[in-house]
Amino acid sequence: MNEASPRSKETSLAKEFFLQQLPLIATVFGCGFASAYLQHGFLPGADIAFPLAGVRVPLWHLVWMGVWTGYTMAIVGEAAGIFALPYTMSVLQFANPHVTPTTQLLTFINPVGALFGFFQNRQWNLDFALWVCLGGVIGGLIGPFVRLTLLSDTKPFTFAVGLALLFAGVHLTYAASRGFLKKGPVGGIEAKFRAEAKSRQAAGLSPSGLPGTIAIETVARGGGRLTVSFWGETWTLSQPFLFVTGAGVGVISAALGVGGGFMLVPIFSAIYGLPMYVLVAATIPYVIVLSAVGLFTYGVIMPALIGTSIQPEWAWGFFAAGGGIFGSWCAAKTQRFVPEHFLKLMLGGITGIAGCLYVIDFFFTLPFRL
């Protein structure tokens, strides 16, 4: 059968959804129900407030939040956390310290599906991921203590979230403007990617652009330097720099409750010129490791060391994550049909404005509640 026939494409898409995604989503929702009864003894939602969050929110709204943040942000190559966090704080009014580990539960579960996808696609290199992830471990251990001390009050916390949003907004707007301006011929991986997509399309295949046989390989390692290659291009990276960046971004991200990819991606692409296809080999495992260590620190290390724990609203995080997995999957399947640069500009604008409002709110009283 011809791979390009619409019916076979529909069947394979449905098969992938029902065999891979649906069981994962069902498991996460199951964890949501189980954790609600285990943590609180009842199912919070529209009628009964979530005890730690202190707010009433219908469960479908949490799932919807996961879907739309996961979908829109995955289309522009970001994770849901940086959008879900301000939405949770300002619209759902969950802004106490428990919001941080709760959003980290979302950022922990969301990229798992993507990790499997990239592993199958051989966009995977443990040497590259190792040092960034080790930095993430340090960040995940320190960040929660920053949250408990410097950012324990709502105002400084929203100010810090505002700065992070501004950073993400500026990055998205900059990426969009570069995308709009880049009309002429392009070189490197991007040119190869386009040529491959064109030839696949001509052959009647889906224009995914990446031949699945190309792996991210380690060319050399030692003396604090690491050289990786992908599709004929090589990059030499400094291991201490990977580690320090991972740790620095980790402290900020674990203190706020976001994944950290929103900072790591622009830093690595600006300093090393790494393309997105290679970056994900480090950033996706990083977000998972950082979120896992952050959750462990909030729930286990903190109470053991200082007797204070900041537990997540487990059910909240699981329901949002279930929606997030579906949203990110939809994004991965439909990304090539979407005007990416225009969407980046729009999301960058929204994120930047939200960030500005949070920052202004720290210094002046706004005429509305944030």
């Binding site: 707010v55 829109t72 759902l92 439909t334 969407l343 729009m346």
Partner: protein, 31 residues
């Protein structure tokens, strides 16, 4: 399927508008 594909470029914007509408609904009902 073809009809669905025609909607796809607008889907992120439809989703954002829906998110805004749901957010407004939540503010009015639960705040």
């Amino acid at each position: 399927m073809d009809k669905l594909r025609r909607i796809l470029p607008y889907l992120p914007f439809i989703v954002l508008i829906a998110a805004f509408a749901v957010g407004v609904y939540h503010v009015r009902v639960y705040w």
